[in-house]
Assembly symmetry: C2
């Protein structure tokens, strides 16, 4: 790419914006221009918000969630059930489940999924703390891993690891997504949906 007719400060801003997920080189340029043109209403507030969030953010020592308090809002909430634990790979997954509003228990964030390729071993995930929590009076562990090879490998590993505890271990259902059309679904999903069919 030819260099822009703009100073090094602008180039650097674009380079860093392009590292955000969802922004490529082209959209990073657009974002940088928007920031520079809307300095008072966007650039300055965003720079401040980033500084505020960076100084306020904490990783919850109980579940691994990101929040401005430790324990986090979920772990602190006395109305949530303590005997059901939902295990997720990442904080983003926890947020997604909270948006769905379907779960009223506590979470446990693994911090990734097992991957031989990327050298992610069980020791690099929050597995030991999970086993400790489950042994401490949890009735059900819901494994809410991604439906990827890494996610399912991790789920199987956790199932084996948690077998020594008394907790019931469940996983999310696989099947046709709500609103999905069969014609557009892959064979794996269709096959899973068929095998798990239910009587009406």
């Amino acid at each position: 790419m030819a260099s822009l007719p703009a100073g090094p400060e602008i180039e650097r801003l674009i380079q860093l914006l392009a590292k955000l997920p969802g922004l490529g080189p082209r959209s990073a340029r657009r974002a940088a221009l928007t920031l520079l043109k809307k300095r008072d209403i966007l650039l300055d507030p965003l720079a401040n918000a980033m500084r505020d969030a960076a100084s306020a953010i904490k990783t919850c020592e109980t579940c691994g969630n990101l929040d401005t308090t430790c324990p986090c809002a979920v772990c602190r909430d006395a109305r949530r059930e303590t005997h059901v634990l939902c295990v997720v790979e990442d904080v983003a997954d926890l947020w997604a489940l909270e948006r769905a509003g379907v779960f009223r228990g506590r979470y446990h964030v693994l911090g990734g999924a097992l991957s031989a390729l990327d050298g992610v071993t069980p020791e690099r995930l929050n597995v030991a703390s999970l086993v400790a929590r489950v042994s401490d009076g949890v009735d059900e562990v819901i494994l809410a891993m991604n439906a990827t090879v890494e996610g399912q490998t991790t789920a199987h590993y956790l199932m084996d690891t948690l077998a020594s505890t008394n907790a019931k271990v469940t996983r999310l259902a696989h099947g046709v997504p709500v609103g999905g059309e069969l014609d557009y679904l892959d064979e794996g999903t269709l096959s899973a949906a068929f095998k798990a069919r239910r009587s009406l």
Copy 2:
């Protein structure tokens, strides 16, 4: 949308990120999480880059380009032709043409396009300074407006306004984009390409 199980600082960061072009609510959440997880290598450098760019940025008084110097790099470059002027709506268009590396003259940034709907009148664009520059020894004015209704309205308006000067006024060609397939093109583009066909 249900609120996230995260503090107000994180909510605010997500809200501001979602205002960037190319980022919606969902990708803003992903971007915020990435920033918070990569604080040292992404969040802090980006916050600094934003501050640096904000304090360094200047609008070129000659052409309207954004740069860290005034006059900007293009206006300052003595190797560029001074008798050809390329008029663009926005700084982003100037950057796009520079990336193509097709033009070696100077630019003039209008700061938008005429729009009755949005109340953009000729007085709100850099038209007066354009006429003054063209009258001051410019041979050719290339109108590089967007091929939108607003862009073409602006081009027609500028053509009339610049008629009083001695400069030749040209516009970019319309036609089939390089790499484009006829099957996917709209009728307007096909019609323009047909009318402007050239003998081989």
